[in-house]
């Protein structure tokens, strides 16, 4: 099981954490990985400058709404 956590604190929210969450939800559905990936939210990871903050099994990534697909393909798929 891979755990992806997206920061939904104010700072990341304004930088587009909703779009990141939606993008990830779509990709997880597209690749049919609902049973293997757990998507969750948390408030503030303390790295607001690098938002949108995302962790994959506690490994930190900085993701933009436009870069969700690339992030998913490089950082997530290889771990599945």
């Amino acid at each position: 099981m891979i755990k992806i956590t997206v920061c939904i604190g104010s700072s990341c929210h304004i930088k587009g954490s909703r779009q990141v969450v939606e993008g990830l939800q779509n990709l997880i559905a597209e690749y049919n990985l609902g049973g293997k990936i757990e998507l969750g939210g948390t408030f503030c990871m303390g790295k607001c400058q690098q938002g949108v903050c995302v962790t994959v099994n506690d490994e930190f990534y900085s993701v933009t709404p436009d870069g969700v697909k690339e992030f998913f393909e490089t950082a997530v798929l290889e771990k599945v």
């Binding site: 997206v6 104010s10 700072s11 929210h13 948390t42």
Partner: protein, 476 residues
């Protein structure tokens, strides 16, 4: 500039600030007894008969600032020695009575309580008077006045009486902790227990000795904050909170968004609902209208719903709610809410907390605060919850016509509940807020101004997310 409505609030604030200062420095127990003299220096009294009485009262305020009497379950406490034992005479004839011929007062009194002396001046027989006030209304010289204590006047549910020492006494079974008496007592003799020392303890222990993080502390702030701290920007208040040691600041309005969706569903299913956001209103129904309890929405308040989410997604986290409300302090002690909310502060207490660390908010960088939608944010003012519930119906395609009865102030709530009880309520949803104007009128607010509603609406419009669904979609 710090802003307070009254000198009473300012005095309360000074005590809280001093207690907080000592608590940060771990000197509270050691220097506790010095606080009264720090607050009341010199030997010229300014508020009471002598400095010794002033200091004794400050001593009582210190106790309440540190959590108050642990044997008293009520959040609201009377400081007996600060109570000025105001007149409780009820309706009295003043010397403005000119001894006229019309004698409308006598005519209108249904209890035969009015008589006249040899100068034709009216007198009220207290044994017959029922305090209806009819005589005062008809007197052409407004010579008849009601001498009622401000606290009793403020307490519309009649939980305040006089004890054997003539001091105010609160009936804990009736009291709903709305704090109206706290704000209205001109002598500051009624106070809400403060948990500012607990909050400081939580913040201090969140960091290990080496500066690393022991646990995360989150501040949930009520949307009415937009009408407070007007000397600084909201973003600066957020930075101030983070400087105090909070990991992040989250809008209670996001909890309100969550509640709005659920409450809309529940209303359409049950067909009749009373709101559950205001803890004082909920407690009022439970104590005064027990047979209406079934109509109370089963949703927890926005504070509790959001705190639950935080605790479930971030194990080990602590949550401190900051708002305008004294009743929230009692709500946080309910068994159903206790696991989620660690403690509650008011805006008054937050101001003291900032100043105990000498934080100059206006000079700080601006942080961001944006979690909720417009609709979650306007919960802070009367009518907002209803607007949000209607919007939530629309967003969820629920076909149900809301007929809201919007009540602010416990008296308006009482009228609606009486009608509901009699089956003559013209509506299917009671939005009940114990404070006039809604939460922006809360007893724990620093200021209670005319413009506060406009401030809340403005803050609402600035929300990044425009719909409730979008704001809440993040949480899934």
């Amino acid at each position: 500039m710090r802003k307070f409505d009254t000198k009473v609030q300012h005095l309360k604030y000074k005590v809280l600030r001093e207690v907080a200062r000592l608590a940060w420095e771990d000197r509270l127990l050691e220097n506790l007894m010095d606080v009264p003299k720090t607050i009341v220096p010199g030997n010229v009294p300014t508020t009471r008969c002598c400095v010794y009485k002033e200091r004794a009262i400050v001593g009582e305020r210190v106790k309440i600032a540190m959590g108050g009497d642990s044997h008293n379950p009520n959040i609201i406490e009377v400081i007996e020695i600060a109570c000025d034992e105001c007149p409780v005479g009820g309706y009295e004839v003043t010397n403005a009575c000119r001894g006229c011929l019309a004698n409308r007062c006598e005519d209108v009194c249904r209890f035969g309580a009015i008589s006249f002396d040899s100068n034709h001046v009216a007198h009220i027989d207290k044994s017959k008077c029922k305090e209806c006030g009819a005589c005062a209304k008809v007197c052409p010289f407004t010579a008849i006045v009601s001498r009622k204590r401000p606290c009793q006047n403020a307490c519309k549910i009649k939980a305040i009486s006089m004890n054997e020492h003539k001091a105010a006494a609160i009936d804990n079974d009736k009291c709903i902790q709305c704090g109206a008496c706290v704000y209205q007592c001109p002598f500051g003799a009624i106070m809400d227990k403060s948990f500012i020392v607990n909050a400081i303890d939580i913040l201090k222990k969140s960091k290990n000795q080496d500066g690393s993080e022991n646990y995360k502390v989150y501040a949930i702030v009520a949307p009415s904050i937009s009408s407070q701290f007007s000397y600084a920007k909201l973003g600066q208040v957020v930075t101030g909170l983070k400087t105090l040691g909070f990991r992040d600041v989250i809008e209670a309005a996001l909890g309100a968004d969550m509640v709005a969706l659920e409450e809309a569903k529940e209303l359409s299913e049950k067909g009749l609902l009373t709101s559950s956001c205001c803890p004082a209103f909920v407690r009022y129904i439970k104590t005064a209208f027990p047979n209406l309890v079934e109509h109370i929405s089963h949703n927890m308040s926005p504070m509790a719903v959001l705190a639950k989410y935080i605790k479930e997604t971030t194990p080990g986290a602590k949550v401190i709610f900051i708002g305008p409300c004294t009743a929230k302090k009692a709500e946080a002690q309910l068994e159903s809410v206790k696991p989620y909310v660690d403690t509650v502060l008011t805006f008054e207490e937050l101001q003291a907390l900032f100043d105990s660390r000498d934080l100059d908010l206006a000079s700080l960088e601006e942080g961001v605060l944006d979690n909720a939608s417009y609709f979650g944010r306007i919960f802070a003012r009367s009518g907002g919850l209803t607007d949000a519930a209607a919007q939530a119906m629309k967003e969820q395609n629920i076909d149900f016509e809301i007929k809201p009865v919007v009540c602010d102030g416990i008296e308006a709530c009482r009228m609606a509940l009486l009608k509901l009880n009699k089956g003559v309520l013209d509506g299917n949803f009671i939005e009940g807020m114990a404070c006039i104007g809604g939460c922006i009128g809360g007893a724990g607010c620093l200021t209670h101004g005319e413009k506060n509603k406009a401030e809340v609406d403005k803050y609402g419009r600035e929300a990044f997310e425009k719909t409730i669904g979008d704001a809440v979609s993040l949480l899934k």
